[in-house]
Structure formats: structure tokens, C-alpha cells
Symmetry: C3
Subunit: 381 residues, 3 copies
């Protein structure tokens, strides 16, 4: 899995258990081929007639790297792979693939609220790891909106619920990139404008929140709690499912908001970032409270991921990058995320050492920092 020419110290550092600082649950039940295909793409539609989502970088990677974990030959066909998956059963598949990822702690975004997904503690149990919760703030808002009778209750309940959930969590997460784009007004909205918007919202609280004033209010309400409790705020940036407009998910759009958070000592964690990994690395380089990862980027770019990782490493301080698999739905995404992180970083480090750029001990130290050390520090694990 790792390059052959890696010194032992670097190899050991890369193979050490990872902290997966951002992931989702995987499904506890069997999935059909149609379901499986939808879970290995960020798209929301079946592949066009005559084609398959297995014909993607991630699809080929599953056949190459997950097949052996299920006792198959590498490059098994999709049909053989899925038959073996059914034969073993979802529980065994999840246990094998999650454990193969070599993760010591999962920090799980629990905001999806789909009952078929493993909970945070189940993720830990199946994966032989500890587990902690990350709270998705847009989900809290949804819960509050559905029960708040009046706008003023909405504001109070939101603050209370954020504080209550923060007490059991290691971070907040925002998906404002999906609900609006990162090109939001970075200032805190006035109380009057929030009350007005909340009144409109409460007329139809089952709708997904897209009002820019309330999204900003939610963000700033979460910042207040995060500051009090020393919690980092994670932000989805870059690519993802088809709800995103990619040019509006460039993390550079957060610059003025990031500056506003600097004196508050609230760490900002930019998730995924692709294809804006260089922009993210720049922000991590010049703002002391900004952190980055690549998340599902490495799973989906698969064999091409080393290049993406290298671009992130062009400018990122080594104490600012973290690992996450961003796994979701099927445990293959966890194994591949961890595998391509180790493989890609191993390739970059082997190159740095071969070219006489880095010492072996520096390379090993950086592998440790990015793989787990930074996350332990940032999330106080």
C-alpha cells in the first residue's frame, strides 16, 4: 500500500492509527446494486443507460483495494464484488472495512438523521475505535424551527439547543456552502432582521433553511457557543453533492468572516476544499486559527489523489492539516479515504526524502502531525 522506498520511521508514522476528524455513519443494512452505485458517487442520479458509477476513479478503487478486504482478488468485477458483499452481510463488511482503515477515533457528523446509518458509538464499535460527535448546526435549526411557536422563542431555543448539544460534542459543523454558498454577508445580522426572517420561517418550518439572514444568525449563534466552549467550527467547502454551486464553495470567499473570528479564538476547519485546496492552504498559512483537510477528495480522486495532496502541501503549515475520510453510506469510503491518505502522503514524503529536501525525522514527524497529532490538539481529544 505504501511506496517501497520509504524509510521505516516514516512507514511506521504513516501506518499508525489515524484520527478521522470528520465522517458520517455508514449503512447498517444490505444495499442493492442501484443503492450501492448511488452511495459511491456524489451525484444523485443513476449513471446513464449503458454506463455505471463503477466506471469512476472511486469505482475502480473499490474493486482494487476493497475487494481483497472481502477475500476477493484485486480488480474483481462489480457483480462479483457485490455478490461477496451480500454473502458476508452488512455487519461483517462494515467491521472489516472500518477496521482496515486503521482509525483510532471517529469524529462523526450526526446531522444526517437517517436511521439506517450507524450512530457515532456504533461507528466506534464496528471500527474498533473511540467515537465523538460533531453537531451540524443546520440540523439543530431545523429541530428548533419545527417546534418554536414565536420568533423570539426561536432565537432563545436556538441558543439553548446549540449550548446543550455543544456540551456533548467536540465541534460544530456548518453546511452553509450547500444552503447558500460561502459568499454570504460575513457580518452578524441585526436582531430586528432576524426576528422578521424568523417570522417568515415559522410560517413554513418544514422547509430546508435557505434564508440568508437566518443562516447567518445561526452561524453567529454557534460562534458564540463555540467561543465559550473552545469548540472548532467545521465548514463544508469545495465539491460535494449536486446541491453545491462549486464556484460559490471556494473557501477564499470566507476570508472576511475568518478575519472576524480571529480575535475570538474560534478555530475554523475547512473541510474537503477540492478543487480549491491551494486557496485553503493559503488561508491556513496566514490565519493562525484556520485548519484544513481533504476529506472525501482523496476517496473520489483515488489514484489521482497524490497530486491533490501535494497541492495542499505546497503552502499548508504542517500543524494545520488533518486527516478525515468523510465516509458516508458504505464503509468502502472509509477504507479508501484512509488508504489514499496514507498512500498519497507516503508518495509525497518519499519524494521529498529522495530529492534531498526533507530529513527522515521531519518526514515522520509531519506524517504523525497530519495523521493524528493535530486533531488531538485542535479537538482536545
Amino acid at each position: 500500500m505504501l511506496p517501497a522506498n520509504l524509510p521505516d520511521a516514516v512507514r511506521d508514522a504513516l501506518l499508525a492509527p489515524l484520527v478521522d476528524h470528520h465522517c458520517h455513519g455508514v449503512r447498517r443494512d444490505e444495499v442493492s446494486r442501484a443503492q450501492f452505485e448511488l452511495l459511491i458517487t456524489e451525484g444523485a442520479a443513476p449513471a446513464p443507460p449503458g454506463t455505471t458509477h463503477f466506471d469512476t476513479p472511486a469505482g475502480v478503487a473499490i474493486r482494487r483495494w476493497c475487494a481483497p478486504v472481502l477475500d476477493l482478488e484485486p480488480h474483481a468485477s462489480p457483480a462479483v464484488y457485490l455478490a461477496r458483499r451480500r454473502e458476508l452481510g452488512a455487519g461483517e463488511v462494515n467491521r472489516r472495512l472500518l477496521r482496515a482503515a486503521g482509525v483510532v477515533a471517529f469524529l462523526v457528523d450526526t446531522g444526517l438523521e437517517e436511521p439506517d446509518l450507524l450512530t457515532a458509538s456504533e461507528m466506534g464499535r464496528h471500527g474498533g475505535a473511540a467515537a465523538d460527535e460533531i453537531v451540524r448546526i443546520e440540523q439543530i435549526e431545523q429541530d428548533v424551527a419545527e417546534v418554536a411557536p414565536l420568533a423570539v422563542d426561536y432565537m432563545d431555543s436556538l441558543a439553548d439547543e446549540l449550548a446543550a448539544r455543544a456540551a456533548r460534542a467536540v465541534a460544530f459543523k456548518s453546511i452553509i456552502a450547500y444552503r447558500h454558498g460561502l459568499d454570504f454577508d460575513p457580518s452578524r445580522p441585526s436582531r430586528g432582521s432576524v426576528i422578521a426572517a424568523a417570522n417568515r420561517r415559522l410560517a413554513d418550518p418544514k422547509e430546508r433553511l435557505t434564508d440568508p439572514v437566518l443562516l447567518r444568525h445561526l452561524l453567529w449563534a454557534a460562534v458564540d457557543v463555540a467561543r465559550d466552549r473552545g469548540l472548532p467550527m467545521q465548514f463544508h467547502t469545495g465539491f460535494g453533492d449536486p446541491d453545491v454551486e462549486l464556484h460559490r464553495a471556494d473557501p477564499a470567499l470566507l476570508t472576511v468572516f475568518i478575519r472576524a473570528l480571529q480575535p475570538l479564538n474560534v478555530p475554523v476547519v475547512l473541510l474537503h476544499c477540492y478543487p480549491f485546496q491551494r486557496q485553503a492552504a493559503y488561508l491556513a498559512n496566514v490565519y493562525p486559527h484556520v485548519y484544513v483537510d481533504l476529506g472525501l477528495t482523496l476517496t473520489h480522486t483515488a489514484a489521482g489523489g497524490a497530486r491533490v495532496l501535494e497541492e495542499m502541501l505546497e503552502l499548508v503549515p504542517f500543524h494545520k492539516q488533518m486527516f478525515s475520510s468523510d465516509c458516508y453510506g458504505v464503509a468502502e469510503t472509509c477504507h479508501l479515504g484512509a488508504l489514499y491518505f496514507r498512500r498519497g502522503l507516503g508518495g509525497v514524503l518519499a519524494g521529498r526524502i529522495d530529492e534531498g529536501e526533507w530529513s527522515v525525522s521531519d518526514a515522520a514527524r509531519v506524517a504523525h502531525m497530519i495523521g493524528s497529532g493535530n486533531a488531538r490538539r485542535v479537538y482536545r481529544l
Copy 2:
């Protein structure tokens, strides 16, 4: 031309004839050195005093790879190269270079209407290939505007002419990236706004169309025809001649428009894309009706093109990418487009196989899909 370490099956797949799904005619007549220099750059001005457009990646590539096709040594000087070109004559040069490209079918954008360019059928004849027509919708609009007496005639004639031309074509193409930018309002304009804009337009119909309402009307009128006839719509995106503002040619700007076309089953083909190939690949990944190519990118980035191709391959489904040379003006651009496609893809596939990521049969299959199979399916050739 191909990497030495390629397995035979992959080599064969790469050397198989290509479908060039987007190109232009090359000149039938002799060109001077000044003309030749302008035809090998996307710029519109001579190189500054004391410099030459041969001192570009494409210029060096012509001396390296086209010189031998004209019986010269690799790296022949520009003067020697152009002298040999004159000696052989335009007809012979075109035949040699177009055939060297190894193309089985040219899909030719006939919207330039320059009489010195080979027609679609001439391109086929010179290149030993079949040929079909792609209709540039902005050219149709120009033809209609110049003869329509009234705004209502303009609308009717436009619809009629689009339908008539579609009957003989395999696709529509839009250059709204040049005329406005891809940041246009994606909604269909109202009939009233179109009538008003058409009245303004008909006062000065010789002008190049830049009115945003009429550009959008044209686009939607073409969508209606494309839906009826099952034709794909090609869009220029990314770099090109100096008319483009590059940041307004990011294909991600098309996201909302792309979503609107999804239920209509009109394939959207993103052409060229550079330097936004990752954005394009993302769109192809999550929307089932989006396709991509790199077109003239590989000709102009030349020896650097493998990296660009690899970035496209980070996220693109293998059934979504196609080959085009986007050749124009001189047949060198056709040969180089095909050569760097094969060379670049060969390099990527060799790497995937060497690293143990892909099987030989998968690599060969992907080379076939991108080289010709996908285009045959999308354009129903």
C-alpha cells in the same frame, strides 16, 4: 509517441482511430509566416518585436512532432519548417497532418464561415475520415437577424432555422462564453423581453450579438430543438481567444442552467475547460447529462498536457470524457491535439498500471471509451 512500458492491449486501444467530436476547418491555401504564427496562438496580435509565437509550448511541439510528418528532422527551425510546408503545398500538408492524427470521424463546427477553411466534407476527405456538422447557434442568429424584417419574424425564423439546421447536424454549439460569459441568467427570458430586445437588435443587425436577453433566448430556442431531436449542446468553456474573460468562462457558472436541462434529457458537453478542468469533471461526475473534453488545451499545453489530462481524470467518470482536437486554421493543430491526447492518456494509464491501481483490461477499456466509444454513444454516430 507512446510510453515504452504500455501493455499491448492499452497501446492498441490508444492507437485506434479517434472520433474528433469538436473541430474546425483548416485553411486550404498557403499561409505566410505572419499568418502561420497567428494561427498557432489563441492571441490575435503578432509576437512582440524580437520574439516569435514559435517560442511557446505549441510552437516547440510543431517543430518536434509535425516536422517528421513533413520529412524533416525533429526540432527543425521555424524557417526550415515553413519552407518545407510551402514546398509540399497546402493540400499535401493538410492530407499528411490530418491523416497522421488517426481520426475516423470529424464533427466540424461550421460556424466560422471563412471561405478559406476546408468544409466538413473536405476535412473528412483530406483526413480519410467521415465528417458531420455541428451547428454554431450564434451564427444562425446572425443569419436570421440580417434578414428578419420584424421582431416577431426574428423569433419565428430563428426557431425555424434552428430546426432546419438541426436536421443535418449532430449537435449544437454555443459560444455564449465569448459573447457574454457563462455567468448569464439561466432562466428562459419572457416573450415580451425578447420582442423588445429583438427590436433593438434589428436596428443594427450586422453587429455581433451581445444582448444578454437575446443570447438567452437563442440558447433556450436551441434547447427546445435539441430536446426534440435528441441533440447534445456543446458549450465553449475556459480559455480561448482574447474575447474571453477567463474567470467568466468557468463551467461551474453553468450549474443552475445545467440543472434546468437535466429533466429535458439534453446532453451538455463542456468543451476545453482549461484551467477549470476539475470544475468540469465535477459537473460530469454529479450530473448524468454532462460530458467534457479538453480540446485545444492539449494542443496548446503540449508537453505539459499530461498533467492537465490527469487533473481531468481525478474526478471524471470514464463514460463522460471525449476526445477533440478543436483544430483550426492549420492542420498542425489537429495532429498535435490527437498526439498529445494519446501521449498524455498513455502516460496516465501507464502510471496507473505500474502503481498497481488499474488492471490492463480496465486501462484499455477506458482508452477506448474516451477515444471514441463515448462520442459514438452521445452523438449516435
Copy 3:
């Protein structure tokens, strides 16, 4: 320092003295560890507790490549490195590192006006090189604003001072990317709007200029002088200190302004450009008066810089790229800028030759053009 497989002619061309066409002074005095750490990052804050700015690509590169210039082993620890720095003294350190850069002429942006920085002529003397001045136009405006009694004096004095400073300079430089962003209105502002804005400005002339009308007036006043005197205009683009919003520093945003300057024959030099080097290369490719460099990008991306350089070389004409170190504050930034330029370009050229793409003589010629020839022509040195 250079790849082992480089032909002698290319090696010689790479090792030849460079023209550093954009740099700043380095400090003449001793600096503390805290000061040193701030001078090796574009950030403005200390690294978070428990971390260090040495844990960056540039920090590792200093330990690797500058340590031997100070008689230390490669990979010396930060403490050892800084102790040796103090031992030698600032003068000796500056002389060693500036001379190690192998520069024949420094073109120095003198707009920072910090007395602890070496002047242009001192940079030349310490570095064993010639030195010329680049005038930062925003600094001139500051000087004029602080003494002009009335708006009309402001306009006259600005024009006079620009002309006076131009007489002793080889170029103008603008940092409008920091003061506003490159998304400014490219048209020349009306005299009335300038008078009105100048009246507001003169009420508080100590403030840093951010008024968009006056920034544009300044730019156009500089263009007038540059045209008369044949001076290039340098523009900061891309990453830099935390004042920049990265997405507003994309050089493509200058497109319409660049077109306006084309008939005036004023060369436009796009500095740094990262991560928009492809956009910059495109502009240099299609507009005859546009030039590019990578500046501090190579210092900060360090071991990752070869990839960035290769991306610039995908599309840039070879007569359009120049070298700069963009050094500032500590002489390490000069040595590393030159080193990674030579190392990175050497790697790209070795690759081009090995792949059979370029001839040795072309590679050597391109190295010479980018290293010094283009700058001699553009700045008439």
C-alpha cells in the same frame, strides 16, 4: 542543487546570473526568533501555541538550503540555525545569502519605507549586483495626500511626483490587489469624481488609501507616465499577506483593464500569481504586452514549487516569463527564491529533454530567456 541528468548547456544557462526583477529590501539588523518567524511567513501572527512557522514548506527549506550557506549541516534545527545567524551577524548573513542567490541585478520595490530594510543600492552592494528602483505608486499617493492642501493640488502633485519618480525608476508597481482587489472598474474615472473623492481623502490623509475612485485615478495617472517613459507596470496578483482576499486577486479580473492598455504599449507584469498561474500564463499568451513571474510563490511552496512552475509553463510564451525572488525581510527569502527557481526549472527542462520533447539548445535558450534575457529586454537594462 540541479537535477543530475541535465546536459551541460542547460546547466550553464540555469547557473548563469539572474535578473531579480522584483524584490524588497532585507533587514540590516539582527532579528529575534519571534521576528524571524514572522518574516518567513506571509501571515501576520505568531504560530499557535506549541507550533512554529518553521513547520512550513519554507521553514524546512531554510533548514535544508540556507543552513549550509551559514556553514551548518542541512536540516539544522531552528535553534541551531538562529544561533549561527546571530553568531555571524546580520551583515555577514545578508552578504552570504544574497550572493548565494547568484543575482546580477536587483530591481527593488522601495515602497515599504521601513528604515531597517536595506535600500536598493545596499541590496546591490551586499549582493554583488547592480540595483535599480521600482516605484510603488500607492506610496507616492500617500506622500502626496499628506501634504496636498486642496484636491486640485492633489491631482497636480500626483502627476508631477509620478513623473519625477519615474525618471529614476525602471518600473511602476501597484498593490491595488491589497487595497481593493483586482475587480476594480477598469475605466478612467472622471475628473469630477476624482476631485470629490480627493476632497474626502484630504480630510484624513494619514489613512491608507482604499477609495476605489482614487485608486483608479492613481493607476491611470501612472499609466500616462508609464506610456510617456516606456515603463512597465507591475501588479501584485495572487497570494500574499492577510490583507488580500484571494479570489479578488485573480489576474483574470484585470482582463478588461489589460485590453485598455494594449494600444498604449504599456507592458503589464503580473507578479506572483499563485494559485492563478494558469490564468496569468493565459493572459501572457494572448495579450502581447503581458508578462508574468512567480515571485515569492517558489520561496513559499519550496519543495513543491516545481509543480507550480510547470503549470505556468503549460501556456506561457517563453519570452513572457521572468524571474523574481520577491525577497523581503530576511535574505533567506532571496536565496530560496533563486534556488527553487533554478531547481524547479531544471527539473522541468530535464523532463522535457528526457521525454524527447525539447532539444537541448531550446531548453538552454529558454532557461536564459526566463532567467535574465526577458527582463533585460522589458526593463531595458
